[in-house]
Each structure stands twice: as structure tokens, then as C-alpha cells.
């Protein structure tokens, strides 16, 4: 195989890579010019279809196919770019935005031309504060240079890009949750169908794509579908930004052909497991994808291969390494706490289920677990999510997977932990004692009552 040449990250180490001048000097906006002046929108859609570019946001849905679901007779199309990137351990989109904003804008421009969208909203998570500043500046620069605005390159195509900032909610990364949030409501995912391509934001045909997906598009225009398909593994083509963090010597984000093994990512690109230790397990693509055990680390990280070891999928391709000094209980506790915190509360099995899972693993961690808790948790996990058909969106599936993989693959360790950590029953609280004695609890100006606007309350302790 020919040596792999990074394209998505090719400008990252170039000085002033954020500026239009540097981007243009390295061939920037040539692909957009080519698409807008020599191709018609359907040709672009077909080219992206031919490349078999699959969405980089987590689900891996074919991008060109998604675009072709838009109604043929539509009057207006909206583009939403998902920059909510909140899957734990994922930060590739942040780097794409911060290091090379014009590549991203060029990707938006071509994709909007292909889908005939004249307005694009970049939904960016609030925490990407520098990314937001960088994007606002880059958009202004691109507009001043005629890459955005009216009649771009004399093609008759108009485009406005607006930044829309989130407010720290994981659920807004779900595409219909994102749409609801964009509309000014709580980020509650919608029941599908209708799919966004038919009825999305503001009830108009809408395309929702991930940042990295759109950053691939200029390169496909420039180099062709065959080039794209020459990279990667069957059904998983093209370059991919892999993040690796946790117990490695070098926490980093690196561009590689799709299908690199988890072991190569850890040993070669992450500099090996830290402190000379061994890996006990690794999270393959954000915590919602589940867990690989140490003997499954040779699994290729692509859209297809991760199903074999029982993971949910590639997800965001963000690997977190867990060393052999870490208790698997701590891993599951962290995952369960995350999903209990981030469940939006719309579907009862998720709202209640994620919290039950959290409480059970918390009890195990605290030293009052029972062996049968493991089976109860597995039973709950098997009935939680889109796959068993009990929720509207996939957040709950993501909550279930660490439980399923964790307990199945590390059952012995969980059981050993439970046996070794038995504190006996919780101490009786004074209130429980009073109730047992039949004394009526008297509450007078309890400091625990909520206080409006924080005035005089415990909110501003110092």
C-alpha cells in the first residue's frame, strides 16, 4: 500500500493555518471553485455518493445517500453542521475548527451547493470558546473575499453561514435534538420519521452533517472518489481523525486510514501505555460504543469490524486506554454517571434507567453491591434504547453498551470486587431513627429548602 498522506490535518502545523491567506496559498478554495463553476449540484452529490463517504459523527450513515433523500421539488434547504462534539474523549472536530477553519468552511460551501442550501448553521458546543472566535473571524474573512455571500464565483449560488452556540447538553449532538435546540427549544430528539431531509429545522428539508464529514468533501472533489476509496478498509473508506487519550504516554489526535487497529493506535501513535503498564481495556470510539478487552485490541477501528467483539460501532473513533491498575468498577461508574447526567428526560426508560444503572454501580462501588445486581443491570441494559425499541434516540443504547460489554467481559472482576467490598448495611440516619420511634419530624426554616434567585441562600458560600 502506498504511504498514507494526511489531508484533513495537512495544514495543522503550518504557521497561521487559520488565516485565509495561508489556506489559499496551499490550494484552498480551489475545490469549491471547481464544484461551483464546473459541476452541477447533482454531480457533486453523485461524486460524494461514489466515494462512499460515511458520516464521521458516530452512526456512519453514507453522506451522499443522506443528501439524496432531500425532496426533488423542495423550495428551500437548510444545512446544519453538528459541532456539538460531546462524546467523552472526542476532540477531533475541535482541532479541525481551531487549526484549519477555512477547510471546514470550504466543505460547508461545497456541501451546501450540492444540496442547494443557502443557509448553514454551525451548531457548536459552548465549550469550544476559542473555536467559536476562530470561526467567526474565518467566516468574516471568507465573506470579504467572496467565498461566501451572494453569487459566489459568479455561479449564482448564495450562502450565509451562521454560528449557533449550544449550552452544554450532550443530547444536542443527536441530530433532531440539535434541530430542536436550534429552534430555541429544549434539545429533545424527535420521533422519526419524518427524517430531517423531509422535515427538519423550521419544518424545512434539512441536512445535518458532522464537521469532519464535511471537511472530507473538498478533498473528494479535488482528488476524486477513486482516491478516497483507495484509503481504508472495505465499507470504511477514507482518512479518519483518531483521538487517543487516557492511560497513554501521548494523548493526541492523529489522521490515519480507516481501519487502523486499536493496538497500533495505542502503541505507535499514543506512545504506549503510560508508566510502563499494560492495557486492561480500551474504549473504542467514545464511551457509548462499549469496551474492548486487552485481548481484543487487534480489532480494526472501522465501521464494520467493531461489531465482532460486541461493541456498538466505531462511534467517534476516540480511543480511551484503561491500564491494568484501574478497577473496572471505576470505569463503569464513570460511564453510568455520565449518561444519568446527560439523559434529556424525555423517554422514561432512559430517564429512569440511566439513573437506576448509576445508582446500582454506585452502590457496588460504595461496598454494598450484590452479585445479582450484575444480572439486573444486564437485564436493564438489554431493554434500554432504540435497538430494543424503548426510546426515541440512541443515547440510551450508548448508556447500555458500557454495562453490557463491561459486565460480560469483566464479570469475574466485578464479582470479586463485590465480595471483597461489603460494608454491611448503611448506618441508620437520625431521621430514620425518629420515624422508627414514631416522632413527628418538625421542620422549621430548613436551610435545605430552595431559595429563589440564590438570595441569602447557600449558593454563594465562600
Amino acid at each position: 500500500m502506498a504511504a498514507f498522506e494526511p489531508v484533513l490535518s495537512r495544514n495543522w502545523n503550518v504557521p497561521d493555518s487559520r488565516t485565509l491567506k495561508v489556506y489559499e496559498s496551499r490550494g484552498g478554495y480551489q475545490a469549491a471553485r471547481k464544484a461551483l463553476t464546473t459541476m452541477d449540484p447533482d454531480q457533486v452529490v453523485n461524486l460524494v455518493k461514489d466515494s462512499e463517504l460515511r458520516g464521521r459523527g458516530g452512526a456512519g450513515f453514507p453522506c451522499g445517500l443522506k443528501w439524496s433523500f432531500l425532496p426533488k421539488d423542495r423550495k428551500e434547504t437548510l444545512m446544519c453542521i453538528n459541532g456539538d462534539e460531546s462524546e467523552p474523549a472526542t476532540f477531533n472536530n475541535r482541532l479541525l475548527i481551531e487549526e484549519d477553519p477555512h477547510q471546514f468552511i470550504e466543505g460547508i460551501l461545497i456541501s451546501c451547493f450540492a444540496t442547494r442550501a443557502s443557509t448553514a448553521y454551525v451548531y457548536l458546543r459552548f465549550e469550544y470558546i476559542n473555536g467559536h472566535r476562530i470561526m467567526e473571524k474565518a467566516i468574516a474573512e471568507a465573506r470579504a473575499a467572496g467565498h461566501l455571500g451572494k453569487n459566489i464565483y459568479g455561479s449564482g449560488f448564495d450562502l450565509d453561514i451562521w454560528m449557533h452556540r449550544g449550552a452544554a447538553a450532550y443530547i444536542c449532538g443527536e441530530e433532531t435534538g440539535l434541530i430542536e435546540s436550534l429552534e430555541g427549544k429544549r434539545g429533545w430528539p424527535r420521533i422519526k420519521p419524518p427524517f430531517p431531509a423531509i422535515e427538519g429545522a423550521f419544518r424545512k428539508p434539512t441536512v445535518v452533517n458532522n464537521v469532519e464529514t464535511l471537511c472530507c468533501v473538498p478533498h473528494i472533489i479535488e482528488r476524486g472518489a477513486d482516491w478516497f476509496k483507495s484509503i481504508g478498509t472495505p465499507k470504511s473508506y477514507g482518512p479518519k481523525l483518531y483521538c487517543v487519550s487516557g492511560h497513554v504516554n501521548k494523548q493526541t489526535c492523529v489522521e490515519l486510514p480507516l481501519g487502523v487497529t486499536c493496538r497500533e493506535l495505542i502503541d505507535v501513535h499514543g506512545g504506549g501505555v503510560w508508566k510502563g503498564r499494560k492495557a486492561k481495556a480500551a474504549v473504542p470510539g467514545g464511551i457509548s460504543m462499549g469496551l474492548l478487552s486487552a485481548d481484543e485490541l487487534d480489532t480494526p477501528l472501522d465501521f464494520e469490524s467493531l461489531r465482532k467483539p460486541g461493541c456498538l460501532g466505531l462511534g467517534t473513533a476516540a480511543v480511551t486506554v484503561i491500564d491494568d491498575h484501574t478497577s473496572i468498577v471505576d470505569y463503569l461508574y464513570n460511564c453510568a454517571r455520565f449518561f444519568a447526567h446527560e439523559s434529556c428526560g424525555q423517554c422514561t426508560p432512559c430517564r429512569e434507567g440511566t439513573n437506576w444503572l448509576y445508582k446500582m454501580v454506585k452502590r457496588i462501588k460504595g461496598g454494598n453491591g450484590r452479585i445479582e445486581d450484575l444480572d439486573i443491570m444486564l437485564h436493564m441494559a438489554n431493554n434500554l434504547g432504540i435497538i430494543p425499541g424503548t426510546t426515541i434516540c440512541g443515547l440510551a443504547d450508548g448508556a447500555a453498551w458500557p454495562v453490557k460489554n463491561g459486565i460480560t467481559k469483566f464479570r469475574a472482576e466485578f464479582e470479586e470486587y463485590i465480595r471483597a467490598h461489603q460494608n454491611g448495611p448503611d448506618p441508620v440516619t437520625p431521621l430514620q431513627e425518629r420515624i422508627a420511634q414514631g416522632v413527628t419530624a418538625v421542620s422549621s426554616s430548613s436551610p435545605l429548602l430552595p431559595v429563589l434567585n440564590g438570595a441569602g441562600g447557600p449558593a454563594r458560600l465562600g
Binding site: 472526542t90 465549550e127 472566535r133 430555541g184 464511551i287 455520565f338 454563594r460
Partner: protein, 174 residues
């Protein structure tokens, strides 16, 4: 409503109202400006007071309940002012594995506060956060002016707190 009665009773100054109205042409519906408006008000007051919600609703021609519904969904907008700098210490998987929880505990201990509270001098609010997307810096913290701190150690947390007490300072200014 006549303009002078607004100036007498309104909480939001005209400059803030103007900033909010400037977002309206970007969207097919005024309600879509809810989040931008909340961010603008939050940046101005360091919180979103109850009365401001009503005024946002008036500008966007929706009900105060709709603004409140959206605002309260995101655990982001406090109703009482936070400190001059808000700092989030990450507790999600990669940061937890590399010591994030200990860093949060240490930061709070040094300041004598609990996560989510503000120091008595009003300079700093420390909160836990789920993944901040800066895992290449794990264990990491993020200030609301954009500054990223990490990989943290207890000494580096002390330095971070000292730096942050000097007030907000955007990292990327152009």
C-alpha cells in the same frame, strides 16, 4: 409600549436588546434566538435573572414560560450571578482516569467551596463538567474565557487558581 416606560422598568439595557435583535434575521423564527439571547444576557449579567427572561420573551414574541423552559433545560444558565471567571474541571472518562476527580477536589478544597459554588470574593466559580473535548490535555480544566489548563497536577491547579483570580483574559484575541 412607549419607549420611556421601557427605560423606566426594563432590566435589559438597550445595547443588549439591540444585540439580541441583531440575531433575528438569521433564522426563520424568532424563537430560534432564545439560546443566543440567553447567552447575551448571561454574558452581561453573569446570570439570567428571572425578569430578564420575561424581557427576552417580549423581544422574541414568545411567552416567558417558553424562555424559562429552554433556559432550565440546559444546566448552563444560573439565575444568581456567578464569579468573574467560571472554571470547569472535567470528570469524564479520560480525565477521571488521569486524576480529574482529585483535581476538582483539590481546587475546591483550596478555595473552601463545593463544586458549583462561587468564592466569597466573587472572583471564581468552580464547577465539574462532563467531557469538555480537551482530552489531549487530560486531566483538564476550561475557563469560560477560553483558556485551557492541563494536564493538571495539584501544583498546576494552584497556579491555575492564582492566574484565574486575576480575572478573565481571552486566550485567542485577534
Amino acid at each position: 409600549m412607549p419607549a420611556d416606560s421601557i427605560t423606566k422598568t426594563a432590566m435589559l439595557p438597550e445595547s443588549i436588546r439591540e444585540k439580541i435583535r441583531a440575531f433575528i434575521p438569521r433564522y426563520p423564527s424568532k424563537r430560534a434566538v432564545t439560546l443566543p439571547a440567553l447567552h447575551i444576557v448571561h454574558e452581561h449579567f453573569r446570570c439570567v435573572p428571572f425578569r430578564a427572561m420575561g424581557e427576552i420573551a417580549e423581544i422574541l414574541e414568545i411567552t416567558p414560560a417558553e424562555v424559562h423552559d429552554t433556559m432550565s433545560f440546559y444546566g448552563f444558565f444560573p439565575q444568581a450571578p456567578i464569579g468573574d471567571v467560571r472554571v470547569w474541571v472535567c470528570r469524564s472518562i479520560s480525565c477521571m482516569l488521569t486524576g480529574g476527580e482529585e483535581m476538582l477536589e483539590h481546587a475546591c478544597h483550596q478555595l473552601g467551596i463545593e463544586p458549583g459554588q462561587t468564592t466569597r470574593d466573587g472572583k471564581l466559580t468552580v464547577e465539574f463538567a462532563e467531557c469538555l473535548g480537551i482530552c489531549d490535555h487530560s486531566p483538564a480544566a476550561l475557563a469560560d474565557d477560553g483558556r485551557i489548563f492541563g494536564p493538571l497536577t495539584t501544583e498546576k491547579v494552584d497556579q491555575m487558581l492564582d492566574t484565574l483570580k486575576d480575572g478573565p483574559k481571552p486566550e485567542f484575541v485577534d
